[in-house]
Amino acid sequence: MSTDLHEELDALARTQTFSPDPSTWDRGRRARRRTRVAAGLAAVAVVAVAAGAGALAVRPAPVGPAGDVVPDGAIPSRVADVPDDLGLTTDRAVGRASVAFVSPTSGRPVVIGAQDGQYHQLALPDAPEDGGLLALSPDGVQLAWSNNGRIHTANLEDGTGGYYGSDAEHASVTALYWDPDSRQLLWNGTDEEGRTTGGVLPADGPVDTPLPPAALKGIPSPGGQMVAVTSDDMGPAAQFLQRRGTAVERRLPADLYPDGAAVTPLGWADDHLLVAEVDAPAGSYVEGRHLVLMTSPDRRKSEWTYRIVMRDLPEVDSLSVAADLVPDLDGTSSQELTHDFEADDSPPAPLGIELSLFIGLGVAAAIAVLLGLRWLWRRLL
């Protein structure tokens, strides 16, 4: 059967003639080139969409250290006193903080969350009052406060704390600092007989690095080569001490402060970079209280830098800053050193377009690309 059928089919098939079309090769090659172009365009479209999505995902925040909030947090771009109706937080484990101060409005300690910029008004036992001091450690984890001669510490991550009762040696405390490692508490004060005294409290376990002899006169640098000292009066320079107590100065920019300024050191961003609060009189280029970053005088003048970190500091008491949250300087004047947490609440606007409109346009573009590819596919096949 199959042989007969094959023969009949063959005979039937032989009625078909064949005349080759000389343009077949060229048509096939043109189709090949069109396909390649379409594939290239599709690849470009995919790369463009991926790059756009990537740019949207990693777009730099409007303001922020190193372009964004670092995992450990950031110093806010603005600090304000707390409103009257801000509730009290009894749990001390509020997380790493960037800034601490005593509110003149409520008289209570306030810390600002390092990762979210949220304000926490703390209900601390034996809270600082009437000249009591508050000090946030450079890493933002430890908070210390004093009330008369009593010194307390609290770990803001786990809520644990320490207490050093008033004794004959520290009947009152007039200055309270953390060492650069955030492990020792340096204090100055007076003893029972009113004599000046000072000491070191190991607040967070044993200490590896010995402090320089002049450490208790200010805030020692991480390497211990310099100690930043508070200058109470308006002057042309910030005051420092060398390791053994020799006074050195670091001139302030005269164009910014023609009448001088008062400098209160707050911590060290690195071995030669001081974070300080500067209070400049009216008539200065930058007036009032502001936060600055300045090179210490043990560096050559050619390496000196002076950056305004935050302007218009509020009239709060015992302001302290987690200096470790200052990002490493990248050498550009445009580098943002703080983060605008308030801007985080606003929806992202890629390419200046409202997000919902951007998504709509993106979907429409994707559909157009797919339809275009489908059209090309049908044309070429």
Partner: protein
Amino acid sequence: MLKGGETVTDRSAFDAFVHARGPALARTAYLLTGDHHLAEDLVQAALVQAARHWERIETSPEAYVRRTMYHQNISWWRRRKLAESPLESYDAPVPEADPTVRLTLEQALRRLTTRQRTVLVLRYFEDLTEVQTAAALGISSGAVKSMSRQALQRLRVLAPELADLVGADA
């Protein structure tokens, strides 16, 4: 060297292939389509695809072209099927006045479904086995067997005088 990296050798090889195998491909195309013009179009379309992918298929272009024709024919049939005759007319035997067996076979083939006709051509004209047919069409061997049986049965219904040709009990 021509455009796009193609060479004169490629074109010559393609032309030689078309010249050598074109008539055979056209014959198969006619059996697949049942129409001389459609058969020409089918061969040309498959050859254009072959030219397009020549670098990849030049070692065995005929297998590629044949496979393209099988699938392209079914694809075209899907696009045309709305315009085809109603199915019930297929079940009526063709008039007995058909002059020759060849014409009767040609008419009967046209009344098979495209897939049935394709299976029949591959099995009884191309002399492929069920497994080879299944591989060429991308279907199972069981489906090939079933379609082949249905195609022969239909031929017997449509043209009883073909019983000798297709076998009484095939």
